[in-house]
């Protein structure tokens, strides 16, 4: 028995493993019955391809290393159109190139799962870590494309949301993203792997759009798919229909975490791996008698706007602190979604650099001291 096969038996039984985030993604895609990975090397996501390339022949799955991210993305769409579950992984400048095929997926409602392991930007910047691809991943295409973006914070979430992402993409036919980062990609931590079916999750079987059974124009109509329209109104009708579908779907897929005690003086808002620092900071401060609150969007798109607004409205005196490893991308989303509320918003913005729990704690203490000063 190969090493991969025996590992799979472990996965089938459900087991605690210790591995890198990139490895976790490859196993999750296998567990989610993904058929094909089309990819192009870019750090820090490369090992997703390495592990998948090793697993694929053993489990009858496909892998193709393409000439660039555009090719990888468009090949994914070709695979999805003929009825296969396809995915890719990229980062940074690769994420930019990937936006072209993703915009076609948005226009034509083609499913696909993209893993984004964020690195520093702009340009080549660093291969290490950032949260600077939030805006690009959520809104990267031309026009108003609709997509779903899950921002993970741990290896367990990488596993869980990669599996969930495949079902979201194939159920609703919107491109779906797992927004990780270089730290999640490269570090090792414990994770429980499992077969979705063992948790009562049924994976959706993909259906072909092209190449269905029967002779076209005899047994069935031929299928003609396009993303070009002749007149403005044609486009308008299609787009409005997509955006309507998205609005209906949004409440079903929206996810967030919140832990806000009554009369919280400060509420920390963060996403992804920074939310772990925020969580540890909030826990530490509560042990010293403070009562900070914590809010984390898991779907950064669709953004859990109503949940955040209600949480903040319940605490009209609270001061908000947005912390992110970017220069105000989450901050802009928070402001947009809290428009009209008057709570002061502070920020801890460190583009391309890690944020520790201690830094968040220091910032919260600074805000609390200032507030005391104001009250005095």
């Amino acid at each position: 028995m190969t090493e991969e096969r025996s590992l799979y038996q472990v996965l089938e039984k459900g087991a605690r493993m210790f591995m890198t985030g990139n490895e976790v993604v490859a196993w999750a895609a296998l567990a989610a019955n993904a058929d094909f990975l089309y990819g192009y090397p870019i750090t820090p996501q490369n090992e997703i391809m390495h592990y998948w390339a090793k697993l694929a022949p053993e489990f009858g799955r496909g892998f193709l290393q393409t000439e660039d991210e555009m090719s990888a993305g468009f090949a994914m769409l070709g695979g999805a159109m003929v009825g296969k579950k396809t995915f890719s992984a990229t980062a940074g400048p690769g994420n930019i190139l990937m936006q072209e095929p993703i915009s076609m997926a948005e226009m034509m409602r083609l499913p696909g799962v993209w893993i984004i392991q964020q690195r520093g930007g702009p340009s080549t910047a660093t291969v290490i870590y950032s949260q600077q691809e939030l805006r690009l991943t959520c809104f990267g295409g031309n026009g108003e494309g609709a997509r779903v973006v899950y921002s993970t914070s741990s290896h367990q979430e990488l596993f869980d949301y990669t599996i969930k992402g495949f079902n979201t993409a194939w159920q609703y036919r919107f491109p779906t993203f797992i927004l990780g980062d270089g730290y999640q990609a490269k570090m090792r931590e414990p994770v429980t792997v499992y077969r979705p079916e063992a948790r009562g999750v049924t994976m959706i079987s993909p259906q072909p759009l092209l190449g269905k059974a029967g002779i076209p124009a005899v047994d069935r109509d031929p299928v003609h798919l396009r993303n070009t329209f002749n007149i403005e109104e044609e486009l308008y009708e299609v787009l409005i229909s997509h955006l309507h579908d998205y609005a209906v779907m949004a409440p079903k897929v929206m996810e967030w975490e919140e832990d806000i005690p009554p009369a919280a003086k400060v509420i920390v808002i963060s996403h992804g791996i920074v939310s772990r620092a925020a969580r540890s900071s909030v826990t530490a401060l509560r042990e010293t008698g403070e009562n900070p609150g914590y809010f984390r969007p898991i779907t950064v798109r669709p953004f859990p706007a109503k949940a955040l607004r209600e949480a903040v409205q319940k605490n009209p005196e609270s001061i908000l602190l947005v912390a992110e490893s970017a220069y105000g991308q989450l901050l802009a989303m928070v402001k947009e979604n809290l428009y009209g509320l008057t709570n002061p918003i502070h920020s801890l913005l460190k583009p391309g650099v890690a944020i520790t729990g201690e830094e968040i704690t220091a910032q919260i203490r600074y805000i609390l001291n200032q507030r005391m000063g104001v009250l005095r």
């Binding site: 094909f36 555009m70 769409l77 070709g78 159109m81 076209p216 798919l225 993303n227």
Partner: protein, 256 residues
């Protein structure tokens, strides 16, 4: 084939339908190309070959951006219109995922030799089991007649108003020659012309059979006409296609 056309009454339609490949979609004819455009002839050759090979239920047709996109609903087989230059990777993705299908990527010279050149080169190098058909009419036609990779030396276009200057713009791309130099054994590479219909049909048939037999990459460049952007009369159009273009672009099989 000689047919007596009885112009002026409904007989005309009957005669035309008899000449129309069964794989053409009658509901979308007349097609959307300009009068005198070569695309219709290239696509007729493809349609005839699909009929002869009886593969309509296995064929996936992808068309590029540019005038080729006007063929998005041209056929009775399943079709997908993609982005500019990206039809090859879409067809590669489909073929890799479902090797039982036959995939055809149809594009212009801009899509294949400029914006999508990396896809053509790499699909050819890998010997992808797809068929790429590229119409070379020496101009970007859909956008109003700019210089294409294949614009002839001295040829006037919207972006070479004084003629293509080789010292600035280089020589016209010899696509099949390039592809023939990089494909693995078993592949098929050729250049045909809409001016020689039966020859073109043979090339497209061999290309599709190369794919069906799983032998390698298959590529046919088709010399095609664009009187709209060439701003030529019917006679001038045929002269340019048959005499001028063939001096630079030699037709025939380049790799088999």
């Amino acid at each position: 084939m000689t047919e007596t056309r009885n112009e002026g009454n409904c007989q005309t339609e009957t005669v035309e339908n008899r000449n129309m490949p069964a794989s053409w979609r009658k509901e979308t004819k007349p097609h959307k190309f300009c009068p005198g455009c070569g695309h219709g002839i290239a696509l007729k050759a493809l349609g005839d070959v699909v009929d002869e090979l009886g593969i309509i239920d296995r064929l996936i047709y992808g068309c590029d951006i540019g005038c080729s996109l006007l063929s998005w609903d041209f056929f009775n087989f399943d079709s997908i219109q993609t982005h500019h230059g990206r039809t090859i990777p879409v067809m590669v993705g489909a073929k890799r995922a479902r090797p039982d299908l036959i995939t055809v990527a149809y594009m212009g010279d801009g899509g294949g030799y400029a914006i999508g050149a990396q896809h053509l080169v790499n699909a050819a190098t890998r010997g992808e089991r797809i068929t790429a058909i590229l119409a070379n009419n020496t101009v970007y036609a859909m956008t109003g007649g700019q210089m294409a990779p294949t614009t002839l030396p001295g040829q006037e276009t919207g972006t070479t108003p004084y003629g293509r200057e080789i010292s600035q713009a280089g020589r016209p791309t010899l696509g099949p020659e390039l592809v023939a130099s990089i494909v693995p054994e078993g592949s098929f590479v050729a250049r045909g012309t809409v001016a020689q219909y039966s020859g073109l049909k043979k090339l497209i048939k061999t290309a599709l059979m190369t794919q069906m037999e799983g032998k390698g990459f298959s590529f046919v460049e088709v010399l095609s006409s664009c009187p709209t952007n060439w701003r030529t009369t019917a006679r001038e159009t045929w002269n340019f296609l048959e005499d001028e273009m063939t001096k630079y672009f030699r037709t025939g099989v380049l790799y088999q």
